[in-house]
Structure formats: C-alpha cells, structure tokens
Symmetry: D2
Subunit: 338 residues, 4 copies
C-alpha cells in the first residue's frame, strides 16, 4: 500500500502515521519526491485494509497495490476451475454448457415439453424460476416448492440438470434439495447472508453480477462463497445498468475477458436478461461465445404470449434451435464445443 501525503504534511503527522504502520507489524518506507512525500508499506497489506488510513491528518490518498480478493484471483489458482456434475457434465471445460428453459415455472406440462425441446437442441441444464424476484408486489411471485418439484421431475425425465434461483436464506436448504446448482440473482449479489448460506451449502452456485456491480465487486461476492469452502462457483454476466435504453440492460461482454484474466472461475452469459428483447438474444449469445464464455443461459417459452414473466425476451423453441446451431458454429471457430 502506498500512502501519499499532502503537500502540507508536518513532521509530527508523518511520525504519527509511521508509528501506526509499525503498530500493525508493518514497515513504513518514506520516500521524499519533488512534489509529494509518499510512504510505501512493506508487509501484509491485508492488515491495512481494515484501517482507514485516509482519515489520518496529513494523508492525501491511499493507493492499494493488491487486489482485495484472494481465493478468487489467478494469483491463488493459475489454472481454470473445472468441476464435474451429474450426467458427467463438466463446467468450465472445453464444452460450453447451456442452461435453457422458461423464465418462471408455470405448470408441469409446459415445463416437461420445454425440457425435451432444449435437451434435444443441446442444452445440459434446465433453468426456470420457482421463487421469482419481481419488481412489483402485484406480479406473479412463482410456484415455490411445487415449482422446484416440477423442475426436478422434468430434468430427471430428460437427463438435464437443474439450475434455479434461491432468493432468501430460509430457502437455501429447500432449493438445494431439488436443484443441482443454486442461482444467486443479480439483485442479491450483495445479499451477504445469502452468500454465506450458499457458500456453506457446498452446492454449485451460479452467482450473477449485480446491475451496478463492477467485476471487482462480483469477485468480492464470489470470495464470500469461496472463503466458506465452496469452489464450485460460476460467475454470470447478465447486463449492467447504464443510460442506454434501447436494451433493457447493457450486457457487458467486456467482462468475459476481464474475468478470464482476473480469476480462475468459469463465466456464463445471459443474453436474455442482458438485452431484454428476443431479437438481440441470438447475436449476443454468439458474441458471448466468441468472447470466450463457458456457458450460456437462455430463456425459451413455447408461447411467450402467455408467459407469466419476461415474455418479451423469451425465444420460441425454433429460435432456440437456431441459436444453438449458430452458437455451435462460433464455438467451433474459437476451438470450443457446445
């Protein structure tokens, strides 16, 4: 950590700061420049992260040298994280995993029908919400446990895995009973109690990036999971909030190479939520694959006109098959499979 001092710093202030640094078991190294004096701090930078050095008299700014995440960083683990799930599905490997299904689970027949469709087209996971985070209290809030049962049954009958959202600490055990992978939604990315519970559950987790979260914030939230011993974590890019309104969110594909550089964890792209409009889902899924993602999450619905949520962004079954064909071509072009 580098402490930059004000031009007006006094010798007493300088001594006071150096003493504090020594009290923390670290070594201050004072360097006098032409315009500013700076203190380099030698030792475990972590000790300083809890200490608000900015507030000491005479300090102008404090510059961090290390990233605040540890277990999530490439420094901790250089090679990509890859883990295996049921049916031999590998997450984080050469083959890009595809999670597909309706936004909300609405009834069994529709779900089972969709499961067969997406399985046939090449998906490995069935997605669908049983607990739904809805902006309005008057909107459909999901089928709850009944929805989880439908997901499990439809997945089992078709040879798919289940990924579904858990919204509340009290639901973790229940959702973990039915799902193969727990999804933490964008709005809960910094619900730290939920992160702790999902970390403790040891189930694979899909952690979606919050609408106003930087990649660094996302990795800090992943650190909550990893620090509880759960390394089966997939990061999900699903759009950030910007001033642009022609898409519902701004799917930030830059995050793919950034994440690949910073962390060993696999990353998935959700162009359905990321763009919010059916017409943009397929091109952005293809772009995600070209950028290097390890997974795709796609909303599909037989009859978007009747969907209880997010009908605007759901693909029709035929459109999903088309997406899979196009994404596969791009995957092959970049040395991957899907």
């Amino acid at each position: 950590m580098i402490i930059v001092l004000k031009k007006t710093v006094t010798p007493q202030e300088l001594d006071h700061i150096c003493q504090k640094v020594r009290e923390l078991g670290l070594t201050p190294q004072v360097s006098r420049g032409v315009e500013r004096t700076v203190i380099g701090v030698i030792g475990d930078e972590e000790k300083l992260q809890v200490q608000p050095l900015e507030v000491f008299p005479g300090v102008e700014q404090v510059l961090a040298i290390l990233k605040p995440y540890k277990l999530a960083s490439r420094d901790y683990r250089a090679e990509n994280t890859e883990f295996e799930m049921a049916h031999g599905v590998k997450v984080g490997g050469k083959k890009i995993v595809v999670m597909a299904g309706p936004c909300s689970v609405e009834n069994y027949d529709m779900l089972f029908d969709l499961a067969k469709i997406v399985k046939k087209a090449g998906a490995t996971f069935l997605r669908g919400g049983a607990f739904k985070p809805r902006t309005s209290p008057y909107s459909f809030q999901g089928l709850g446990e009944e929805g989880l049962k439908y997901l499990r049954q439809a997945a089992d009958e078709t040879g798919l895995l289940v990924c579904t959202e858990v919204m509340d600490t009290r639901q973790v055990e229940l959702v973990a009973k039915y799902a193969d992978m727990l999804q933490i939604g964008a709005r809960n990315m910094q619900n730290f109690d939920l992160l702790k519970e999902c970390g403790a559950s040891k189930k694979p987790v899909l952690l979606k990036r919050g609408l106003s979260a930087t990649v660094k914030d996302l990795l800090m939230s992943a650190e909550y999971l990893l620090s509880r011993g759960n390394f089966k974590v997939v990061l999900g890019e699903r759009g950030i909030r910007t001033f642009e309104t022609s898409t519902r969110n701004t799917l930030d594909l830059n995050a793919i190479p950034v994440i690949k550089k910073e962390t060993h964890l696999p990353v998935l792209v959700d162009p359905s939520h990321g763009t919010g409009y059916r017409d943009f889902v397929t091109p952005m899924a293809m772009a995600g694959v070209a950028a290097g993602c390890d997974g795709l999450m796609i909303e599909v619905h037989q009859c978007p006109e009747e969907a209880k949520s997010d009908g605007e962004q759901s693909l029709l079954p035929g459109q999903f098959e088309e997406l899979m064909k196009k994404a596969r071509a791009v995957a092959h072009a970049v040395g991957r499979d899907i």
Copy 2:
C-alpha cells in the same frame, strides 16, 4: 395503455390483439394514424401489466399511461404522510429528523458517549450498524445482537430513538425487538423477501435507494411494504452509481423534489454514504435541506482513525455540531426546523 402497431401489421394480427384485450375484460379502441395504427385500451390497466403485449405479432411497442405503483403514489394519498414515534418525534412533519451515530456499533462506551454528543447537538435518532453488509468477507461484520442491545441502552439513556439495519429475513424479529425503525440498506432494496417481512412487522422502516435503482424502482419496493399494510415508511437517498469517481457515490438530490412530487412518503438524505468523504458531508447535508428533505442521516465518530468501517466519511463530534448549526440556518431559510 397504448399499443403501437408495426407499419406492417396485418388485419389478422390486429384482430388477434383486440380479441386478447377483450378477453381481459378491457375495451380496445383502434385509431388509424398516417404512419401507424394504435390501440388505446380502456379499463383497468393493471390487468395488462401481467400480459406481455410486446410479444404479440404486429406490436411495435407498448406505452404505459399509469405509474406502476399505487399506494405509494400521490394519486392514492395527496397529503404528506406524517407519523409519530416515541418521545413525540414526528417523521414527515415540519421538523427535519436527524439520525446520527457511528457506522458500526463497536463497543458500549464509545456508543454511549456519541449518543450524548449527537443528542445534545439536536439529533433525534441514534444510528449504528449491528449487522453490517461488507463487500469483503474479511472485514468486520458487526456485533450482532450485542450491538442491538448497546444501541437500545444508549438510546434509552439519552432519550433517542434507534434506527438500525436489518439484512436478513431471519433477523427481522430480533432487530424489531430492539429498534424503533428498521433500516433496509441500499444493497437489499430489491431483496423482496426482506421487504415482505419488514412490511409484515409493522415497524417503521427506512428504505434506502439502491445504487442502480431509479426513483420508480424505489417506489415499487416501497409498494411491497405498503401493500402489506405498513405505511410508516421513510425513503432514503444515499447515492447512486455513476461514472464519477471523485465521490464514492453520486448523491442524487434531484430525487428529493422528484419523490416529493410522486409520493406522499417522507424522504431522508444520507450525505455520508452519498459522498463517501468527510469534507463533502456538510455542504451536501445543507443542500439536502434546501432541496426539501425530511431527514438527515449522518455518520459521526469520536476517533475515525480507529473506526472499524467508513472512517473516511465520519464527522468528528465538533464537525457534527457545526453541521447542525449550518443545516438549522438553511432549514429556517426554507421554513422548516431541525
């Protein structure tokens, strides 16, 4: 609701949409313009909000005429919401309420000492975190119930009320036992299960705006509380996330007059989190009062050098007294008291 049709819409598509509108018990009114045909829908717009009309063939866009919130709107209640709490403290009235205290509760003596200081300077609420939402899993996470007890005791001995954050549905009952007002933090503004529990608890709630939440989103979250019968709700502006980095967040004071226009609920400004730097807290508190806020939330610490969190933005006791004097002068200038 207005349904704008594509230039290429067919008579069959038009009929199909009109039929759907009628099925919902509404009346479609077709109007043919020079460039586009539009359908005005007469009846309860709510019925259409669950229906994804955008996905019907031939539809270009759907324009909403009504706001999606009801109980929170000025249409529902024209006069300002004002409610009374213990010690005769009125929230939402002529007198601006001030909540002050440390970021985190660290120990009793410090807290009691601060309570006396802020009470003397004119605060009516003691603020302080017992459960802390921290970006890093390695940071201080709060004292939990012990912190709640300290808050209650320090407030009782000084004649203050307690406002403190609840982060998890499982803590609502516990926090409600000690606090006079429950705070839902910015990161949990769309933790819908937490909103439901806080709504059900009937305790006054301070609902803080999320970092990427529009005012409309904030009012939709308030609607979760109101629709469960809890009308003792205060909205809190504490900064949104923008590209500007000279402040930690961008405190959006525009939200004050916008909120005052749209809703009857009182609104509070938190310039400590909103700006993130001690130097900017007092001018922005004064600006908040001039803009018409009903409350201020200010972080104060005797020794920011030792603070376990947010030391950079905490005022020293003397600075807080100064803030109160300056804010009082502005309050009087705008016909309010503090």
Copy 3:
C-alpha cells in the same frame, strides 16, 4: 403522438390543447379511460416535435409513437446501405472491412512499415491520427497536415485507403483532400457544425458514438449527415461511459444488433478504444464479428513503449496478425468474410 392528461384536467384545458393541435393542421382524437383521458394526434407527427406540449396546463406526459430520425431509419430504406470506394473496397457488404494503424501518426517510416504489415494481414484501411483530441493540453497534439501527407503516401504505396479524424470545421477541406474517409470522433459526435460540414463534403464519414450517447442520439447525429445528402456513413461503436473501471470504456456490443434493426447504415467496432487494454482487444474484436459488425478498427504499433498516445491498447504486429486469423474464423462461422 399520444397526449396523456392529468387526472385533474379541466374541460377548458382539454379544449385549449385540442385547439392547439388543430392549429397545427392535425386531428385530435380524445379517448376517455377509467383513470386518465388521452388525446391521440392524427397527422404528421413532425409538426408536434417542435411544439412543447408538455408545458400546456393539464398535460401529464407526451408519448412519441415515431422515431425522431427519418433518413437513418429502416422505414426509410429497408435494405442495408452498401457503398464502394477506391480499390473496389465495399463498405457494408459481406466482407468486413478492417481499419488498422497507429493511434497517432508519428513519423513516415514507422507508418509506412505498419501500413505494409496491416495490409499483408488483410486490412483495407490505414488508420492514424494527424489531428489528435487529447484530454490534456500538455499531451502530443498530432502532426497536422504533415501527418495527413504521410497517411496518404503510405496508403498509396501499399494499396490501402485512409481513414483519419477531423476535429474542427476549419479542417474539413484539408482532411478531405488527403483522406478517403473522414472520422468524426466520439467527443465530436454532437459537434453539430462539424456534422453539417462533413455532411456537405460528400466524403464517406465514420461517425463514432459519443461516450454518453444512446444509439438514438447516434442516429440523430447521423441524420445531420444524411439530411445534407451524404449517405456514405458508417457508424462506429467504441465504448460508452459506465461505472465499470476494469476497462477504459464499456464497449457496448448490444449496439450492433440494435443498430442493425433500426438503421440501414453499416456499423464498425473499435475494441481498442472500447476496452483500452491490449489483452481485451482480440476477444472483443471476435465478439464484434459474431454480433454482426461490418467493420473493425484496430490500433497497432511496432513499439508501444514509444507510442506517443494510447500505447496500452495498441497491438503488436504479431498480435494483429493473430487477431485477423481469429476474426476470420469467426467471420466464416457467421457467413461473412474479412
């Protein structure tokens, strides 16, 4: 255009608005709903765009039905715009055009050397700045006309076309003398006098999206060019400003399918400026191709250590050759060529 009236609108206010609408030669169509009365306006919506209807007493909001751009829209021209330049280079066709070269023109030898390299790797345009928009007045401001001459000569000797930035209305004639395509940079996207001059010049123009410009804003600026009779316009996505700091800007690839839907104009992606870091340029170029772009603009430099600007984001010659190979594979996968 739809005029939504306030709940409290009086018959006099309603009459006043209808009269105004009629004065403009349009027909008001009043429709009374349960909660609101709305006025549909039949006729040429353009006439209303100059009239601030929001300010009339009794008006709650005004909803536009038509897009504000005309010549740029797919309604005006359904098929893609494709135009041919010297050396038979087609812009907007099946083959993706690649513009490559240094950020700034620094000297002739370096430029000529780079021109040979990028030509060999498959580029069709030589890019490079002779007039440089620099944030700091103390930074290198470009070689001016000398730089333009170098560009022309290096391009002619290698069979490339020249695309270079024009920053000021007074430079348009000069730059047009040397360049094949005029670039209007992001910071000048709403320099309306410059747009008018470039529109009048009839030279092909690359119009880059501003850092805080929506796609709609970009198309409105394009409309300035088109309305002066210049239809040889390429739009350029080069990143928008968001809260994310791990990339210099947030390259918004969603803009590609949005632009393709809204307008007939070709669109180019600049991942060098869009991301700001060399490591992210190639994956984002590939993603841009997969998303459907018609062109790429890439910064290349033999010795980024010595570059007078933007060294961090410049590819080395070998990296550029690698990018071309990978982008070509993706282009073939999506039915394009490069």
Copy 4:
C-alpha cells in the same frame, strides 16, 4: 508516480524500466514488498505522463500521485479566483451571480421584455442562445448573428451582461464581439480546438461540464483555457448522464464541494438543463446555493407554450421571481448574497 510490478517480473525487466526512468531524467527507487516490488519515481511526474509505462514488460499497473491539471489546481492558486466585469459585476465573490433568460433568442420584443423582468428580480446576466446545439437537424437552429445583436441591445438597455454559447471555432470572434462571456456548452466540453480559440480570445468563459465528464475531465478542459493565459473561467454544472430517467439529466451537486476543494475557479449551477423539468428547477437552485455555488443559470420564458426549445424546463416570470426570493433566503443563511 508509482510503478507496481507483476509478481512474475524478471530482473531484466526491472532493469529495463529503471533505465527508461533514468533516461527521462528521473530517479527510480525500488522497494521490494512481500507480494510485489514497486518503483517509486522521484522527479517531475509530468515527464512520465507522456510515457506509456503500462506497456513495459513486467508492469502490472502505474499509480499517479499528482493530479493531471496544474493551473486549475488549488496547489497552483490557493485563494478563490474572483474577477470583475462591466457594471462592477464580480464573479467568484460573495455575491452569487444569476444568469437568466430564454433558452433560444426568438425575437427582440420577447427578449427585451424578459431582460427587464430578470433584471428587476436580481439577475446580472442575460442568457439566451443565438447558435443552438440541437439533437435534431430538423429543430430550430437559432437566429445566429441577429440573435447576438438582440442580446447585446436588450442587455445594454437594461444594464445586464450577456452570456451566450459559441459552438464553432469560426464563430468565436463574432460571438466575442457581442457577448461579455462566452459559453462553451456541455457537448463541446472536449472540443479542443474550440477550447484553444476561446482560451486565446481572453474573454471570460463559462465552461459547462459534459454529460459524461468527470470533474477531473472538466478541470482538464479548463486547463486548455488557462494554459492559453485566460484565467477568467467559470465552471458550470448542468447534469450528467445516468440511468435515472425521472429527470432529463442528473444534476450532480456533489460537484460543487468537489470543485471548491480541487480548484480556485468559480462554479455555477444550471438546474434548468440539469433537471429538465420546471417543477424541479427552484428546489435544485436552492440546493445549489446551499452547497456553495457562485452562480446560477436559469431559463425563463413568458410563454413556454410557444418556446422554440426547452419549454418544459423554462420558468414563468412569476416563478423566477419566486426562485430569486427563495434562493436569496438560502444565500443569506450560508453567508452569501445574491
């Protein structure tokens, strides 16, 4: 400047960087920490700003210690800049200056009438656009020189000063002939040629912050003016672009205390453009005064229904008088006058 090296840096890479630093006439000071080695650079940091050190092999990141602006900084000039104009008007002093008038100059009678109104209410400047930056090429583009003449005449007859926008380098001389202060609009904040011309003109300049400009960017643009010897510069906050849509822009009042801390230049607030809606102008003007601004710019129009631009945000004469009364009360409360 601090150069942080990668964990994997080799002794050769370290030597190479140190040598480069020495070649620039600076002294490298190597400090080996537990996790990273850093190089502190002693000497004139400016020399390094032109050098892209990030691209050297072995470099992880480069941390700047000094601000990139010089003449604009408080380090260069500690006391506030205050300058006097005609009629004894002081800018940057105890008295807050008010610039008021229509968005566009439309005709002389209207303008003269407004000039009398705003003068009587306490304004010192007449504002109004003769050259208008309009998003659409089909909107009213201003009266040009005729508008400038009207402004000069109306101001002279009422004892006001004129502040009006210059959009193009070719207009600087003309506008300077009629105006007392040149306004550089938000869209031109990084039109560097225009900055150079306005800097050279020596006329007082109002430099408005761009929609996506940080305060640092704004100060860098001011540096263009100052470095050409023009120190009569007023900075203008008029809203930034964020995701919030309930206001046209997000007026960022935090910028006031930030600017006051960083620079000696006076700062003005424009709540008309900053919020975009008449209802929000007065509270935000009051908030701006409470936050410490040195000036206000307010749009006023006798008949917003007929305004050729920005009618929605223009105050009626009576509303402007009311604003002045309220702003005056706040000004007195904070020890200022208006």
